[in-house]
Symmetry: C2
Subunit: 326 residues, 2 copies
């Protein structure tokens, strides 16, 4: 414990939460901030959590990546809409034998990052977290929190459970974060999309919570059809998502508390939407394999229209008023 040093790129609702938990457990954590830098460098982080509130009066806060030490594990916790920053902010903080841990939604991000930092290891993390930033440096953790880890190998070849994954898992588990290890990162990412594609997309398009989407017979059907299209996309890359998994996701969502998805929260706060990472990359992966996903494509095109409207109205949004990851 405490041997591995961490950098958090993007200290918002997600990065701030996990980083704070790691620091509280005794790990050395370096936080990169933007708009909240002054507040956090002076007063630290405040975490309200269903698992117990805590405060870190002092954290290692940075507004400039060049001033950060290089770390063993660099956690990418930006919204994917900010990933154009990665070529600038990732190389300075990553040790030569370090690990980039990508805690982002969507598909294909690890591939992009491997183009930036070719010879370090990349681990993808699928976060099931519901948290909000309620004020600068003040995060409210509402529910869930589990992360599924899977290591990236070129072309998303399955890696099995690696030692590196286990080392990081140990730190997270010691910090009270529940971890699952996946032998096949790409399968894990597609599985998460089974949920994210229908609910994130339709919640924005129809201004609806998950419970409303499931209560209506037509959107419930559409959700299910979209899930099957995600499975088709997975299949086009050689990954099998069984029907039983889709049924589990449907009944799991029916039982969930009414939920406003992360994309809906972004939309409501006029922040750019993670359309490309979640929808665009999935479509392109399937397309490369010659598979068309027409209902996902519809949703993608609709969301792009709304996203363009947001970007035009506001310029780029503020990544640090982050939200949950689902």
């Amino acid at each position: 414990m405490g041997d591995i040093t961490y950098a958090i790129l993007g200290t918002g609702a997600l990065g701030g939460f996990y980083g704070a938990k790691l620091q509280k457990a005794g790990n050395e954590v370096h936080f990169l901030l933007k708009s909240d830098y002054l507040e956090v460098s002076q007063n630290g982080l405040v975490i309200e959590s269903k698992d117990g509130d805590f405060t870190l009066p002092q954290v290692l806060a940075y507004s400039d990546v060049e001033k950060m030490p290089s770390c063993d594990v660099v956690i990418v916790a930006l919204k994917t809409t900010q990933n154009h920053l990665l070529p600038h902010i990732l190389p300075p903080v990553i040790k030569d034998d370090g690990v980039v841990l990508v805690l982002q939604n969507g598909l294909g991000i690890e591939e992009e990052i491997s183009q930036i930092v070719g010879n370090v290891r990349i681990i993808g993390g699928l976060c099931f977290l519901c948290s909000n930033k309620v004020a600068p440096g003040h995060i409210r953790h509402l529910d869930y929190g589990q992360i599924t880890l899977g290591e990236y190998k070129s072309n998303y070849q399955p890696t099995g459970i690696t030692e590196k994954m286990q080392q990081i898992a140990e730190d997270f588990q010691n910090a009270g974060i529940s971890i699952e290890l996946a032998e096949d990162l790409l399968l894990g990412r597609w599985k998460k999309l089974v949920w994210n594609i229908p609910y994130n997309g339709l919640s924005v398009i129809l201004n609806a919570r998950t419970d409303e989407l499931m209560a209506d017979v037509h959107t419930r059907q559409l959700v299910e059809q979209l899930m099957y299209e995600v499975a088709l996309g997975a299949k086009s890359t050689g990954r099998v998502i069984p029907e039983s998994f889709i049924h589990t996701m449907l009944s799991y969502t029916i039982k969930m508390k009414p939920y406003r998805t992360s994309m809906k929260i972004d939309f409501d706060e006029s922040r750019p939407l993670e359309v490309e990472a979640i929808f665009g990359n999935s479509l392109r992966k399937a397309e490369t394999a010659g598979v068309n996903l027409p209902q996902i494509r519809s949703l993608y095109q609709q969301l792009k229209f709304l996203d363009t409207r947001i970007i035009r109205k506001q310029g780029t949004g503020n990544r640090e008023q982050g939200t949950g990851n689902r």
Copy 2:
């Protein structure tokens, strides 16, 4: 002129406009009204039109279909969301050798009406009209106005140009309404859907005018894909819509003045949407022929969700605050 008697079922933006034009030209026209009955029976109809304003201080107005005489031509000008009323209001006003003229959007309505009034002739009319009711008995005609007429025969067999079509066309043309005659009603209806399905649907889902949908590269593509799916639906019923027609509709819409579709106006005024006539019936026709239209289905399911929300909020809407027909 004046030999044929007309009944207008639904004296809104569309029925009121065409009925008034017919009366002004000397035809006997009987108007069925609901909420505007008192106003119109006392003060008649006021038409503001780009082709010239006029007032009809006296019209034959009815609030009760049982008090109307049976007429030669009964014009169905309700919104299709009110078509559940037809079994009650259609039979009393139609002469045994009369004609039902269906001035409604969507597909399959003539079939439904043939179930109600088996032995009269049915003509479908596709209206390209932009008009609004701005106050009780007060209609503002903004643009267009042409009607394409086609006669219905069981199973939508093409009828060619019939004498009945020509008779009615003559009255309309004498009233200053531009008429086109179609030899194949079903083909005409599918062609109108090439426009109505993408623009009506997406304008509601994305809160957008036609010009906005065409200016964005993604929705422009989606519009085009939806048009191709309509052509696929037409093909499933043996009707060919050439690619050139789709290109014409796209460039025509780009040149149009920014337009708020009729379904968007209904949506903005919290009236029930014509989802079943336009989307549901098209999907079912194609499905019967074993053809799946996934992007139209997505739109249908999304619109049904929004429509249910409207109906739940407001009870049924008021058909007479009608709008244009596009």
